[in-house]
Amino acid sequence: MLHENICEKGFLDEQFVQLEELQDDDPNFVEEIATLFYRDSSRLISNIEQALEKSPLDFSKLDNYMHQLKGSTTSIGARRVKNECTQFTDYCNAGNGEGCKRTFQQLKKEHSTLKKKLEAYFQLARQIGPVETACRPK
């Protein structure tokens, strides 16, 4: 099942469950948040991409962008993307440009994978109605 898949594989964590529990009388809430998240994060990823092309790298700027990105991923519960953010920040703090670039590729992959999964999930949720949630509470 798609729902279990999203959470069991670690794409989304408990925070996503919390968001779903907030839906209540607003069935579009989570989807709204996801949309905002993608708008926000895509912009940041694009900024980071540009910044990574500069030489020498401005680690402080990169760290700043990543901090914002990490914030958003935390709010939506995008665990895997968040982990890549943390990894990136570590490399950033160590001044390891190569590490940053490598991790960034991974981050983009996770970001886009999650997007597909969420899109599929919302589509399914629309069909099923508010009964199912992505992650069964423990």
Binding site: Q15, Q18, L19, E21, L22, D24, D26, F29, E32, I33, L36, F37, D40, H67, Q68, K70, G71, S72, T74, S75, I76, G77
Partner: protein, 202 residues
Amino acid sequence: MVMAVEDRAADRPRSSSGELHVLAVDDSLVDRKVIERLLKISSCRVTAVESAGRALQYLGLDGEKRSAVGFDVNLILTDYSMPGMTGYELLKKIKESSTLREIPVVIMSSENIITRIDRCLEEGAEDFLLKPVKLSDVKRLKDFILKGQGEKDDGDKGSCKRMIQHDCVKSSPCDQSSTPLPCQSPPSVQPPLKRCRMLNVD
């Protein structure tokens, strides 16, 4: 985003109706939406702004002649890391203001940094919430604020904070790592506010 609130001057609903008016400050749109939702579900009235500057405007502290704006704010919930003015700086400005210093300020942050938390509490923050903020955090805050307003007693309002500081801040050496600080709150007191959450015990 600053709303025209002259019409609110007439009513000063210091939560006599039980409804809190919360000013939420966060530069992240996603976070603002989530916080707004959490607050609305908790039956609070929300004004969400994107920066400390906007918040000061709304509160009438931006150097312009104080209007009635922001008189009915019962709680300020602000992110710590914001471009321009940080939540900490906003906190300081509010506490420096003779007219606004009574409004409880709560700081939110995605980073669990002990020295940061201490600094905020010492500067007068009521609490420090680790993001992602949960519904239970908001409910607890709300209860605390409403109780404080009902009693309207300075001694009481300070007690939670002093308790936190006494139990948690001084008990262990501080370091920059995110190792949670063990928090021994006396069993007779409802675990106040923030510090104990760092244990991630839910």
